[in-house]
Symmetry: C2
Amino acid sequence: MILTYNTTQTLVKDDSLEGRRLHFYDKNEQIPLVNEGIWQVYRGTIQLSQLSASGEEILLGWAQQNAFFGLWFTHLDSYQAKALSEVYLKWYSKSEIESSLQLTQTVLHQVMGRMRQTEALLAIAGLKRVEERLQQLLKLLKQEMGQSIHEGTRLNVRLTHQNIANAISTTRVTVTRLLGDFQKQGLISLDSDRHLIIHH
Amino acid sequence: MILTYNTTQTLVKDDSLEGRRLHFYDKNEQIPLVNEGIWQVYRGTIQLSQLSASGEEILLGWAQQNAFFGLWFTHLDSYQAKALSEVYLKWYSKSEIESSLQLTQTVLHQVMGRMRQTEALLAIAGLKRVEERLQQLLKLLKQEMGQSIHEGTRLNVRLTHQNIANAISTTRVTVTRLLGDFQKQGLISLDSDRHLIIHH
């Protein structure tokens, strides 16, 4: 779904918008990916993943505010991007990025961020113990999508146990059990919206 | 070890060298990493990895000709870079990169390459069956460090079974067994230098 956003004052006021059209996608929608350009997240969270030949969904990361994503950045088949929340995206063509130092620098900065995230997920995948993988994933999520609140850090996206299981190569059942353990130990809790809170 | 390379004609003739000093490291040497700048590979292969808290070496990728690597690109602790062959490196400071459109574009292009490689390794790590992980790793290595020869593709770096085991989260023993199976099936072979050849 495409809409030109001109009703909400906050968005129009934002200098970085430069009159660029905002594309809206609802929660759980797949984002179309084409070769000619890349998306930038204006608001919301995108989940990037791959469907393996045997049908497993392999989590590759998340794109949040200001991050770029698209086929330009990948060589994988069955690469997919899904909205984890309501999202607003901006579209850039490759040629407009390549001809501007400022845009190239912005993209470089953001790609480095995605690179660090992917590398952190790879380091987590390399850990032998599943409990250690989950602990390190929570630490990464805290950095990537956490907002400080009184009790600790609240993740601003609601992840399903299956999402988490895909990220650390385990089953949903194991994630449910381990999160239950962490909750009993007082390491985490859920707020009324079922968003995860990671305690101090 | 640092040396100014001015004896080999091939190197001096190369335009891209721009009189920049080449730093030489021998096979198996650790490359020093500092915050102020990044390395670019002029010749040879670098292996990037992390030592986890429990002492496991987690493979994060390889940097080959023209690729950049350094602490600028990572947030991980115990990040390390090791020469897998004799290597020649060039050094760039952050500020010189940030002030040049051409250098920024080059770095962006190369970081995207590293990003794709890291993502491919992450997709491999997410596969359940170890045999499938090894098959996909060989496919990636073929792309990343393969040279076409008569029988198929020869990897231009000699990887130990332990290197490969670290890359796909399994044991050295399993890698040895699976590579033996692949050899019997005629999928791979070793040349006289013990470099892996992946058949057509």
